[in-house]
């Protein structure tokens, strides 16, 4: 699903590479934790998958395709197969829960009747049925993140990327979010989650890839957060 071959990324104007000769492969249906301190390259990894950034060296492959070879009008199609969730939720404050999730469908041209039955379905999946008419500021952090996950998942993407999704949440709420992501993973969606949260990683025992200063230093099935320390 996602394959990195000796990928190096150096941002313009900097000396130290954000990612340095990283090679890894994530297969369909896997759940992978991407761990590391701030600045270790986790966010860069996710951005390279989305083609928000271009790799300086090496090949990034998503669903078998080399993203560097994609023309700029094909990039939106790539992004439709990937759902993304962020630490700061990134909801539209002037739209209701329903409208926020529907937005993801409207902008890719889905007809109104499709939206009106897909959105309630996915809201039920994330546990927010009954809250369609609420605005983001009326929801708790955990509920907002569920909306974000609903939006990311509504198109049934093959891959879900999560950049520190529990960063702004308390431990109990984080647990709820993780259970949700696990459920989504079990439907066959590949999940890559960048995180600092050691407790979460330790409790779930999924594959762990650790980055440090842009290099991959650990790739372990059923790993824990701080094994190499």
């Amino acid at each position: 699903m996602i394959r990195f071959d000796e990928v190096t990324k150096v941002y313009a104007g900097t000396q130290r590479p954000a990612l340095s000769q990283v090679s890894l492969e994530v297969t369909k249906g896997e759940f992978v934790f991407l761990v590391g301190t701030s600045g270790s390259g986790k966010s860069t990894f996710l951005r390279l998958v989305l083609k928000e950034e271009k790799a300086t060296k090496g090949i990034v492959r998503v669903s078998g395709k080399d993203v560097a070879k994609l023309s700029s009008w094909k990039v939106p199609h790539l992004r439709r197969t990937i759902g993304v969730v962020f630490q700061d939720f990134r909801l539209l404050p002037n739209k209701t829960v329903f409208e926020n999730v529907a937005f993801a469908l409207q902008v890719i041209g889905k007809p109104r009747h499709a939206i009106s039955h897909t959105v309630p379905e996915v809201l039920e999946l994330v546990g927010l049925e009954g809250k369609e008419a609420r605005f983001p500021h009326e929801l708790s952090g955990g509920e907002q993140q569920r909306v974000a996950i609903a939006r990311a998942f509504v198109n049934r993407p093959a891959i879900l990327l999560a950049d520190e999704p529990t960063g702004n949440l308390d431990p109990t709420t984080s647990g709820g979010i993780m259970r949700l992501l696990d459920r989504i993973n079990k439907t066959g969606t590949t999940i890559v989650m960048a995180t600092h949260d050691s407790e979460l990683v330790d409790s779930m025992r999924k594959r762990v890839i650790e980055l440090q200063d842009g290099k991959k230093i650990r790739d372990q099935d059923r790993g824990v957060y701080g094994y190499s320390r």
Binding site: L50, P76, H77, R79, A104, Q106, I108, R151
Partner: protein, 304 residues
């Protein structure tokens, strides 16, 4: 539905930036109006040229009793001199250039003068004797004035040879200057509107960065993201073009046809029809420039 979505985005965009939308409209109105004015001036020149083409005459004024020009030292023109001039005009040399020759007597000149200036005080003090006699030559091609002039100018009895072309040329030069100044100003204001559209887009793109960021993330096509911005600019330009067209047609109808044509009747003027023919051009140019500036501004300020 996609169209509904785009429409909603445009309305929100325009409402948020009413001040900027209004300024884009206003600058567009001014620039397109000036552009149209230039076109109108050009059309006026063409209209006048068409009107006068058949009527171009070479006027050969003959010496009168009081003439004090160098060629009239012998006083009033004699019959022999007149016959000489007439035969020169009828000669085979000029045959291919001259269409017709009229002789205007003092009385005829006097009558014409009186009817042209009937409302003027001047006409009351003029007598028949003060009017010059003249030969009016109609040419096959108005540009051949020089041929006739050369042969006739220094002949005894001829006071002056006038080419009506010259009078008109001065008028045409004036209209051409009006056209160029109009277009220069139009050019400057068009640059203003381009910059204003770019600034508006920049502002709107910044204001809507959350929405456009998510649109990009979720995989909306680049075109779909850019479309509301471009359409907004084109709508503002269309409104501007409409107002400029109304102004131009009104000017033609009320001022030119309404007032000018009625008071200065010696020439043809541009009609409302001419003004209406310019309207599609204003729309085309206005919308094209708005669309292109919006597109370029988006390349610069909207990361896609």
């Amino acid at each position: 539905m996609r169209l509904q979505f785009i429409f909603d985005e445009i309305v929100v965009g325009l409402r948020r930036n009413v001040a900027m939308a209004v300024s884009v409209v206003l600058v567009t109105v001014v620039s397109l109006f000036l552009l149209g004015l230039g076109f109108l001036a050009q059309r006026q020149v063409d209209t006048m040229k068409d009107y006068w083409y058949d009527r171009i005459q070479v006027s050969i004024f003959l010496c009168g009793a009081d003439s004090d020009s160098a060629t009239c030292t012998d006083g009033e023109v004699t019959q022999t001199q007149k016959d000489q001039i007439k035969s020169t005009l009828a000669s085979p040399q000029l045959a291919s250039y001259v269409k017709q020759v009229y002789f205007e007597s003092k009385q005829e000149a006097f009558d014409r003068f009186k009817s042209q200036f009937k409302d003027s005080v001047l006409s009351n003090n003029v007598t028949v004797d003060q009017m010059p006699e003249s030969y009016r030559v109609q040419l096959n091609n108005p540009k051949d004035y020089d041929v006739v002039a050369q042969l006739v100018t220094d002949k005894p009895g001829v006071e002056s040879v006038e080419d009506q072309n010259q009078v008109l040329d001065r008028l045409f030069a004036l209209l051409n200057r009006l056209k160029y100044y109009s277009w220069m100003l139009a050019g400057v204001t068009l640059i203003c509107s381009v910059l204003l559209v770019a600034t508006t887009i920049r502002l709107t793109a910044f204001t809507r960065r959350r929405e456009t960021g998510i649109m990009r993330l979720v995989g909306a096509s680049n075109f779909f993201i850019q479309l509301p911005f471009i359409l907004e600019s084109m709508i503002a330009a269309a409104i501007g073009a409409t107002l400029a067209s109304v102004a131009l047609v009104s000017l033609t109808h009320f001022e030119i046809q309404g007032r000018l044509a009625k008071s200065l009747k010696f020439v043809n003027y541009v009609t409302t029809g001419d003004a209406l023919m310019i309207v599609p051009w204003l729309f085309f140019i206005g919308l094209f420039i708005a669309g292109v500036s919006a597109f370029i501004a988006l390349m610069k300020y909207l990361k896609v």
